[in-house]
């Protein structure tokens, strides 16, 4: 987190228009302060470095619905998912998207969650959440966004194969920021059908993805460059984040 913060700040210092997104499964942890604080330290860290949005990943629901609701309330950024519903209602568990204005463009960021979530929530009575078919959910959101967004970014927890299906089947998507289970893509894939870019940046915080888009006044991508940056020892710790991490009593083994 401390190296990530340094890199993020360096990019922000050099670019006026930066979005910082997470494609899900950030909160769940088996050890360390993420586990001992049940995700609270993760959300606080993401608050500190200024995330703009995070998609709810299927694994994040392992924390439990009540804990997840508490974390959502503590976050300074929205948790997104366009296809997770509360029980058998028509009420979404989280916000489906947010819109950010940059350089006169309206950028919609849509979250979508993997249907694998059902596999460990089902059984033992009524399901606390229901996951709808993801690609149709994205279609529905895009219909709702007609005339309201110039650039569409899907922050996806679906996994690479489903991201490819999404890109090939649904027009109007500028980029898919992917995740689940954590694929390292050294460069973006551009779907030939509608031109959507797909990226994904590894796992366990060892990399951060950087997708640079040149966008014209009509909101069209004219060129792009993407990379997964290793957060290695050559990147110094952000002093404030390091000091905050050091306040936790449990030494971090990794």
């Amino acid at each position: 987190m401390a190296r990530r913060a340094t890199f993020i700040q360096q990019v922000r210092d050099q670019n006026p228009y930066v979005l910082l997104l997470d494609a899900g499964n950030a909160l769940i942890s088996m050890e360390g302060i993420g586990a001992t604080t049940e995700g609270q330290a993760i959300v606080e860290g993401m608050n500190r470095v200024g995330y703009d949005a995070m998609t709810l990943g299927d694994q994040d629901f392992r924390l439990g619905i009540d804990t997840l609701r508490e974390l959502i309330a503590e976050a300074h950024f929205p948790f997104l998912s366009a296809n997770v519903y509360v029980g058998n209602t028509q009420t979404l568990f989280a916000e489906p998207y947010r819109i950010v204005n940059m350089a006169g463009h309206r950028i919609a960021i849509i979250g979508v969650t993997n249907k694998d979530l059902v596999s460990f929530l089902s059984g033992g009575g009524a399901e606390p959440v229901l996951v709808s078919e993801p690609i149709q959910s994205i279609r529905n959101v895009l219909a709702d966004l007609a005339g309201k967004a110039d650039i569409v970014i899907v922050c996806s927890n679906l996994g690479y194969d489903q991201d490819r299906e999404l890109a090939a089947q649904v027009p109007g998507i500028t980029a898919i920021i992917g995740g689940n289970p954590g694929m390292l893509m050294p460069e973006p894939y551009r779907d030939p059908t509608y031109g959507a870019l797909i990226v994904q940046a590894g796992y366990q915080g060892e990399w951060i993805g950087k997708l640079t888009l040149q966008i014209d006044e009509k909101g069209q991508v004219t060129s792009y460059q993407g990379e997964a940056v290793v957060l290695g020892q050559e990147i110094a710790d952000d002093a404030a984040i390091r000091a905050w991490l050091d306040t936790f009593p449990t030494p971090q083994p990794y």
Binding site: L21, D22, S29, A41, T89, P96, T212, I215, E217, G219
Partner: protein, 61 residues
């Protein structure tokens, strides 16, 4: 009794106030920023992204 009637009369007023304030009942509304006031310009957008961090606060490297 008088107070009961008074509270009952206040309910529609409260509902109207909530609706005027942009609240909805039972749903989650997406966050939106105000419509842009400047004309669209060509620009460079940098998207920094992470995934599957799984609670790791320190990289291995």
């Amino acid at each position: 009794m008088r107070y009961t009637r008074g509270y009952a009369a206040a309910v529609p007023v409260l509902l109207a106030a909530l609706l005027l304030a942009g609240c909805t009942l039972g749903g989650v509304e997406p966050l939106q920023t105000p419509a842009p006031t400047e004309p669209p310009q060509a620009f460079q957008l940098v998207v920094l992204h992470t995934n599957d961090v799984r609670g790791f606060m320190e990289p291995c490297g």
